[in-house]
């Protein structure tokens, strides 16, 4: 018989009871999802890994404040999302983001296509830097990660109406890019 997997709520209880190694289960369950979001918010694998690491350690330190242990994944996501927004907002990061962009993105093997692709990628993903961190987060969750408004609202603790407004404003801000695709 396959071993019964511990629920998130049980893992949280075990960690708070002193079994700190149980936290490894949460790192395994949510590390990839957190990393994917951080990568799309920063466009930098190094920065994404650093932010996820900080979020997970902070999550451990603050675990006793997690009010819904059965939704600890969403709670960790909120910690990471806040770190990402602060990071995107930091002036030092804005200075280097564009120069780092092309290298951080996926590249192909054809040099000519690669150069053209890099140009498109720089335009498309660089345009996200024009958005506020909140608009960028909402846009990425909706249109890049493909989540529903209801899912995002539940994770981010916002109303669907407020989220829609952020996404709409992000689209308005990105509308200039449409000329490239017309």
């Amino acid at each position: 018989m396959a071993p019964v997997e511990r629920s998130d709520a049980q893992v949280v209880r075990d960690v708070l009871s002193g079994d700190r190694d149980a936290y490894r289960l949460l790192v395994r369950r949510y590390g990839e999802v957190l990393h994917g979001h951080a990568l799309r918010m920063t466009n930098s694998p190094d920065e994404a890994a650093d932010l996820v690491q900080r979020a997970l350690v902070k999550g451990y330190r603050k675990l006793s404040t997690c009010r819904e242990p059965e939704r600890v994944g969403a709670w960790l996501f909120r910690i990471l999302a806040n770190l990402c927004k602060d990071h995107v907002r930091s002036p030092r990061r804005a200075d280097v983001s564009m120069t780092r962009l092309a290298g951080a993105l996926r590249s192909g093997s054809d040099p000519e296509a690669d150069a053209e692709g890099a140009e498109i990628r720089t335009k498309v993903w660089g345009a996200l830097d024009a958005l506020t961190p909140e608009q960028r987060e909402a846009f990425v969750l909706k249109h890049v990660e493909g989540r529903t408004y209801e899912e995002i609202a539940a994770v981010m603790d916002l109303s669907v109406a407020a989220l829609k407004m952020r996404v709409h404003r992000a689209r308005e801000a990105l509308r200039g890019l449409l000329e490239e695709y017309a």
């Binding site: 002193g18 700190r20 190694d21 936290y23 490894r24 790192v27 395994r28 590390g31 990839e32 957190l34 990393h35 990568l39 799309r40 466009n43 930098s44 694998p45 890994a49 996820v52 690491q53 997970l56 350690v57 902070k58 451990y60 330190r61 603050k62 006793s64 404040t65 009010r67 909120r78 910690i79 806040n82 927004k85 951080a104 993105l105 996926r106 692709g117 498109i120 990628r121 498309v124 993903w125 249109h143 890049v144 408004y149 603790d157 829609k164 996404v167 709409h168 689209r171 308005e172 990105l174 509308r175 890019l177 449409l178 490239e180 695709y181 017309a182």
Partner: protein
């Protein structure tokens, strides 16, 4: 930007419901949004992530009973009171208010009675407000002045603090950035404030 385009991109109406110009713009949006998927950054989390996180956690000091008490002082769980308990406390408070009215007033000057010590219970308030620069609590227990300031020492957007409150049922609000009055989303109960907003309600029992 046309509202119908937003509604289409939100999945509320099909492209067929758009005007010809709208369908053209929707097509442009579809191509652009597809490029975000196609050209987006990809890659798995680094293999070292799990071990590095656990190594940092292992390096943290062990939390003994004293540490857990300190944890509670700094980040205690919010106080939650069931509606039944709130009702009992409210009834108790009403009784306490009613009882002295039936007692005969002392005649003539007597020895000055020592004032009864006012009992207070320290209640943990907690609000998640990552964008805030300050958060305070105002309620009927402090004259609706935002005098109890919450703290967020590690900057994770979770503001907390312990506030002395007398036993009873109290209404309160958070004041974010000194201007925005915000209802506690995790309150035990709510009541209309008469101005179209909702106050959070807290029931505090005696500590004895």
């Amino acid at each position: 930007m046309n509202d119908d385009i937003h509604r289409h991109l939100d999945g509320e109406i099909p492209a067929d419901a758009l005007s010809e110009e709208g369908r053209r713009e929707a097509g442009d949006w579809d191509r652009m949004l597809a490029s975000f998927h196609r050209e987006g950054p990809t890659g798995a989390a680094p293999a070292w992530l799990e071990d590095k996180v656990m190594a940092q956690i292992d390096a943290l000091p062990e939390r003994g009973p004293l540490g857990r008490f300190v944890d509670w002082m700094v980040n205690p769980a919010p106080v939650r009171v069931s509606p039944l308990a709130a009702g009992l406390v409210a009834a108790g408070v009403a009784l306490l208010i009613a009882l002295p009215a039936r007692s005969p007033a002392p005649e003539g000057p007597g020895p000055t009675a020592e004032p009864e010590p006012v009992e207070v219970v320290y209640v943990q308030f907690l609000l998640e407000a990552p964008m805030a620069t300050s958060v305070a609590v105002a309620g009927d227990f402090n004259g609706w002045e935002p005098s109890f300031v919450l703290a967020d020492p590690d900057g994770d957007g979770i503001w907390s603090g312990r506030v002395p409150v007398s036993p009873g049922v109290h209404a309160y609000m958070f004041v974010v950035d000194e201007t925005e009055w915000r209802t506690d989303p995790n309150a035990a109960g709510y009541q209309d404030d008469g101005f179209g907003n909702r106050n959070a309600v807290l029931a505090v029992g005696t500590s004895g």
